[in-house]
Symmetry: C2
Subunit: 618 residues, 2 copies
């Protein structure tokens, strides 16, 4: 169009469902949406979200990536062309009772503010295959260090080193799992904008603090936002590479420029990573518009403010990941903005929103576009709400309590303390299962947590109208665990079970299959696919240390035989990329009236013993 | 920027207030806003509104027009440059209690998606002067026919000719004013999309119907949206000039093309205007996005879909206005989208929103950017709400009850019937005052209804923080009437009276001056400037017919002498543009202990007699 814009039109079938376009909190099925894909803190505007990934997947089993770092406008099945071959019926609003304000459409339209664009179409045949191809195209998913899949707690921002250590000790004393703590802005001498240096009053001896922390089996993750404070040493070095505008008086370095990346990375290395800090939380790289740089800002690399906005979170993730790779240490952290191509970067999205149903919806949507999301817990009005949120987060990519402001602890609600500890311990127990799911993400592009349209056996259950009711509030972890969170106030809920039989995670009893069932429970409703094997550790408070071997309990559910490929490696370094990894096949087969567990293939180096437990009588 | 965009930056002073950017329902003072100016039905997104006029006015007494028909992004005092000479203080969120998420800014930024743009700066010295210059630059304001300032009632969409006439008779019988009725989609044989022809069942004899209507002293206004129905005669003629996309299956003619305008105008002429129809209501030229054409649509003139979107309402207004000019008959109608340059086009904006406070806020905002707005009444939950809404609309540019769906009548709430009739009659009585105010709009660019920042004596009352509380819910009609609507549930309210003394409209008693006062009233709180003259007709149900002469009561308020220029012309044609108009000065001066009224200048042709009434004892 006029040389400065490109319009794209994709045919949309009458019964075709479209998912994707990033981390949406409002809807999963995108038919009828009109979005402007624009990095921002979520606030209700379609497309204005932390990861507005320009990728979508169709129920017909293909995916499309519009490879642009600009603000894209998308119309998902709303437009009607004059020459449409199959237009909706011509009605008269005066007389036709079934006149609709929103007639059907046969198109998905995209407007790109550039003279041309690359469009990639990923084949299926299933929607999951399309997503896998997309994830693999961008490098495969991330494989976090094992400890990343433990539990993490972010302490109040004003905490001192002594207070953090005391908190860690209290986790241990009360028997609550903990693998890494998050230090919030207060670890820095100044924040908003940042100095990226330890505060001498709260953390007088950073190395000593970290050593003490590690002695308790816990690592540290440091909060930052990337806006560099005038007067800091970093400011003088980065000033030549900064954009025209400030964020909270801090400069915005242009990380398209290698020299800028080196300076910032070097500083983080000297002040944190080389001391042993295990990761970062990259805050406020999304928006809101009112304090971020305006689209009129300029940057020394020559990229537009729009392009920098759409990629700033990606850039910071990348330079942090590169820094840890240089140390041959895996990291796992948080970030508040991302985009296409992020799947291999080991960061999980979070935000300031707090609706539990919206959080679960975002978890579902994250699986369509190669990003990870945590429905973090911060506070609650009741013990019931606290428990429900804890249950959800323990089945998400990052099990986290963020008490930066609330000062809560997992045991803050005594009436549910026991159940909270139980689900946190279950999180640790599930680590081999989760770690294997992430290995499949890494090597096969299968998202570790999946929305229902990406789950085998969903697309044929009941009818389309029924299936649409279950897109937003249930998901599958790995291949075999269907999780259906309850929200505060709900005594029971409906769950749509895909084809085949599904069994209760706790009891092993059959629940149903290929249908909608009603369930009610104090525990989290979790159902297991027929024939599935679920490897668990024994309950423990910390991820096994490097070199430590642990016992494995392999649960089998249902009445069918099954097999499972268990992944293992050193859990910490990138040696796995150099071939040092094992896939061990575990099988359960019939043995007369009983089951028999079989271990095929290389012995996993870190597994001390394997015991099979058959949950469902044959 | 890269040849395809233009960024503009305007300095913004610390105490400078910015108003404008079109018909905003959410805020009047725009400092801190971030808007995307984009024609749409209002829905809460800043800039997405019916008239997103790219003009703003500063409290420092200048106005700026960015003359672009594209979607503009605006940051009103949010951005911070590195080289800002007076940046906000550098704070540390860890330790400074007064750290703010939104620091102060010295800039107003605009991003234009074009390689260049015309920017016009209008001088003051007052904000009102800047607005006047802008209005005059675009041709001056509109001067409606006198009857346009009477009362109008839109009948239920399915009404037949007989039902409309019966409703008109009932207005007469019950003593309620009525100057024109609005016929909604049902007058057409088909709508959504439209045929633009009378329905043979509901209106079998259009000319006879209109003649009967006119015989009762009432005119007709016809609803339409511009989307042309397949199968209609107009469709075959306009098809070659239509865009690529449909709206409700109707084609979207490209009215940039003269031939298309001629065809549509000719059809409206033959079917409506030549029969005596007095005006149109131009609906759904704004949005929502989901049914309007997408930005990827193409149009035969070569204009972008974006440009067509931003100007479609303007174009239809223009061709309708041209049609009536060709008949030498003035019209006054409604439209749901407009933009810069609309001030001389005789149309009033309306929408489907219904918050009374938001309606009043929009009325205030309309005055900054050369558009007119009506806070139409449709229904209410209580008689109190009904009365309050009626009171507001009777002091707006178009006094209208829109019963297209609700089937209400002014007397639908018996408990307030008398008060409603009273305020409707007052609307007719005020016609000379309102008509003169519109004449000043036409010739001097002064908006007939004004927000407080455009009112003399406002900018120095109390302090800035106090004044900001009164931007949204009070306004001045003409020069002299300060109107402070009450909302349902309010027994009393605060009113900010500008400098000088102000007097109660009904009693003439002094209320206060240069201060905030508390008022409470069943009637509408209306206050009159000291020394003001307010010309009124006697209560009547219809605007005086062409050639009919009427008596004038000229009220004087306060303790100062005053003068007033009363405007008159034939009230119907464009003869006034050919010089056939009078300005007659009315004066009130001291005569010992009494007042004396004086008439200077040409006798207004339609005024039979002038009687002065002195409301405030000297």
């Amino acid at each position: 169009m006029h040389g400065t814009r490109t319009s794209l039109r994709f045919p949309l079938g009458r019964d075709e469902d479209i998912y994707g376009f990033g981390l949406d909190f409002q809807r999963v099925r995108q038919n009828g949406s009109i979005l402007r894909l624009h990095v921002d803190h979520w606030g209700g505007r379609p497309g204005r979200t932390h990861a507005p990934v320009p990728f979508w997947v169709s129920s017909r089993g293909y995916g499309v990536l519009v490879d642009s770092a600009r603000y894209l406008d998308v119309w998902v099945g709303t437009s009607l062309r004059r020459d449409a071959p199959d237009p909706p019926p011509l009605l008269d609003r005066n007389r036709d009772r079934n006149w609709q304000a929103q007639p059907s459409s046969d198109s998905l339209d995209v407007l790109v503010p550039a003279p041309g664009v690359d469009v990639l179409v990923f084949g299926g045949p299933t929607p999951l295959d399309a997503v896998r191809r997309f994830v693999l195209y961008t490098g495969g998913g991330c494989l976090p260090p094992r400890w990343g899949l433990g539990f993490t707690h972010r302490t109040p921002t004003s905490y001192t080193a002594a207070q953090v250590l005391a908190e860690v000790e209290e986790f241990e004393r009360r028997g609550f799992p903990l693998d890494f703590v998050g230090l919030e802005p207060g670890w820095q001498s100044h924040s908003y904008p940042c100095s990226f240096e330890w505060d001498p009053e709260r953390f007088p001896e950073p190395q000593g603090f970290l050593t003490a922390l590690h002695g308790k089996g816990v690592r540290a993750n440091l909060w930052l936002n990337p806006y560099v404070r005038p007067g800091s040493t970093l400011h003088a070095e980065l000033a030549p590479y900064a954009g025209s505008h400030c964020v909270w008086n801090g400069i915005v370095p242009d990380y398209e420029i290698a020299a800028a990346r080196e300076i910032f990375t070097g500083h983080l290395d000297r002040h944190a990573v080389s001391l042993g800090v295990a990761g970062f939380k990259i805050d406020e790289v999304d928006g809101f518009d009112s304090w971020l740089w305006p689209d009129t800002a300029t940057f020394p690399s020559g990229l537009d403010a729009e392009q920098i906005r759409q990629t700033y979170g990606l850039r910071i993730q990348r330079l942090v990941d590169d820094l840890y790779r240089a140390h041959d240490r895996r990291t796992y952290g948080l970030v508040r903005a991302s985009n296409a191509g992020a799947s291999r970067l080991p960061f999980v999205l979070y935000n300031d929103h707090y609706s539990h149903p919206d959080f679960v919806r975002a978890l579902c949507n994250s699986s369509f576009c190669g990003v990870l999301w945590t429905p973090e817990v911060r506070e609650s009005r009741t013990g019931e709400e606290w428990l429900r949120r804890m249950q959800t987060v323990c089945f998400s990519p990052l099990a986290m309590l963020n008490a930066w402001s609330s000062g809560t602890r997992p045991w803050s609600f005594p009436e549910v303390e026991e159940q909270v500890r139980e689900v946190m311990l279950l999180r640790l127990q599930l680590q081999p299962y989760l770690y294997t799911a992430f290995a499949r993400y890494r090597f096969e592009g299968v998202p570790p947590v999946r929305a229902m349209p990406l789950v085998e056996g969903f697309a044929t259950v009941a009818d389309a109208a029924v299936r649409r009711r279950f897109l937003d509030d249930q998901f599958v972890v790995g291949d075999a665990l269907l999780v259906a969170p309850l929200f505060a106030g709900q005594k029971k809920r409906s769950v749509l079970l895909p084809e085949g039989d599904w069994f209760d995670f706790v009891t092993g009893a059959r629940v149903g299959g290929g249908e909608v069932v009603e369930v009610g429970s104090d525990t989290l409703p979790v159902f297991v696919r027929d024939g599935a094997l679920v490897p668990l550790m024994l309950p423990r408070l910390h991820t096994p240390a490097a070199g430590e071997r642990f016992a494995l309990e392999v649960r089998h559910y249902g009445r069918r035989p099954g097999s499972y490929r268990l992944y293992d490696d050193d859990g910490e370094t990138f040696a796995y990329e150099r071939g040092e990894r094992t896939w061990t096949t575990l099988r359960v087969e019939r043995d007369g009236d009983a089951w028999r567990g079989v271990v095929d293939g290389p012995e996993p180096p870190r597994i001390a013993s394997i015991r099979f437990r058959f949950m469902t009588p044959p």
